[in-house]
Symmetry: C2
Subunit: 259 residues, 2 copies
């Protein structure tokens, strides 16, 4: 089923409004003392996470009462609806907790399980990227796309979660660090924004949850990139959290590196 263009335009406008209205909620807690709790998986949780997600959920419910919502902090509601919003209120909690500005709010909309638009909002930078299949990809309103892929030996590869990849996949980590012109230890959603804006050539990532990649996927694809797991399979609910994004030709070279 193809969605009417008017609907998509309304959803995209709503997603941008959501990002803009949530930014000050998260920023209120940034660089201020806050209570850090340990979740089962030891990732830090903050009041900012919860307040931001609660704000986004209330805004979505008010505007689209028949849509579903899935969020990192408060689980799923109406997950069987045709349209489902997926929220990661603060992607990059470690950055947030250390005064580092590269944390973002991720907002995705799926239609019958297919991601149709995504938003990466960077409140501390005042930058926002949005788009999806058929919508293109825009950074602060300006159309952007991934740059032509160089050969791997010349590529600028962002290695997200390097400590985790080293621990869980040491052979692949060693090959990644030896490949590319500028292997770079990085983290979280900003690497994908850099890719879709045409500033870096690839992102390798590990340990992602669907709420981490659902907003990123439509942006990467709209910018001309390919995004899969480390075996080249499409990302889906069963994915193992390992992610590779690049232009198709470099994507193939990196798949070999990650095999």
């Amino acid at each position: 089923m193809t969605l009417p263009a008017a609907d998509i335009a309304e959803f995209l406008g709503a997603a941008k409004d959501l990002a803009a209205s949530a930014a000050p909620v998260a920023l209120r807690h940034f660089r201020r003392p806050l209570a850090v709790e340990a979740k089962v998986d030891t990732s830090p949780v903050t009041e900012a996470d919860r307040e931001t997600e609660a704000h986004l959920r209330a805004a979505i419910r008010a505007r689209f009462p028949d849509h579903g919502i899935v969020g990192e902090e408060f689980g799923a509601e109406a997950q069987g609806a045709a349209f489902v919003w997926t929220l990661d209120p603060i992607d990059g909690t470690k950055s947030f907790l250390s005064g580092h500005p590269l944390w973002g709010t991720l907002i995705a909309l799926s239609h019958r399980g297919r991601p149709i638009l995504g938003v990466i909002s960077m409140p501390a930078l005042g930058e926002v990227m949005y788009g999806g299949p058929g919508l293109g990809c825009r950074l602060d309103g300006r159309p952007v796309q991934a740059r032509p892929a160089p050969p791997l030996a010349e590529a600028f590869v962002m290695i997200n979660e390097l400590p985790r990849i080293l621990a869980a996949h040491p052979a692949q980590a060693a090959r990644l660090l030896a490949a590319g012109r500028f292997p770079r230890a990085a983290a979280d959603c900003y690497s994908y924004l850099q890719f879709a804006a045409g500033w870096v050539d690839a992102v390798v990532d590990c340990g992602l949850q669907p709420y981490d990649w659902l907003a990123v996927l439509p942006l990467v694809e709209a910018a001309g990139g390919r995004i899969t797991d480390w075996q080249g399979r499409p990302l889906g609910p069963e994915s193992d959290g390992r992610v590779l994004a690049a232009r198709p030709e470099l994507h193939a070279e990196l798949l070999a590196c990650l095999a």
Copy 2:
């Protein structure tokens, strides 16, 4: 010899002026196509580096004609003068080249070899930190200091240049990654700004040149931190480029980890 307070105040004001006037010079090239050259050490050099340093040198010569200047791009002039400015026009060239906003301009002033003030200017963020011994440390005009050190097991440790440390010092890298609550792969001068602002507990670094650490040292010390090499020796012209910054008690724990 103690310097008159009026002189120090003038130098600090000048350093802030220098940082402010250099920011737009560097920003003109940020996120724009630029020619990347390979230096002997393969670090990328850009027109932005050279124009920013040339701008800073001209401004220093005009205001302090009898001062010496040492810079990353254009070497040393009057290095034997009582006062010597040390410049790193763009610390974080890889960030600069990849559209990533965490690159900075570093400005240090030494008197007879002793660093007396430092500036970390972050043009893409609009943030600036400045200070030195007896001057305190300020971020965007607000006094800041390092936070009380937690035990290492609870510490937020920034590991700069992790790929380089892994390659050159694998045993220490493994211990670092196993220590601390939030080991974090990071890079460049912003980690020190985070430390001096009280947002993280320690910075471990590798491969630094004097122009990388001369501006950072007075800020770390003014904020209450200790900064040495990995053996606990003071940083100096003979240092091997490995750097550790933390509050004294955590510094001692990390020295053991890096032994």
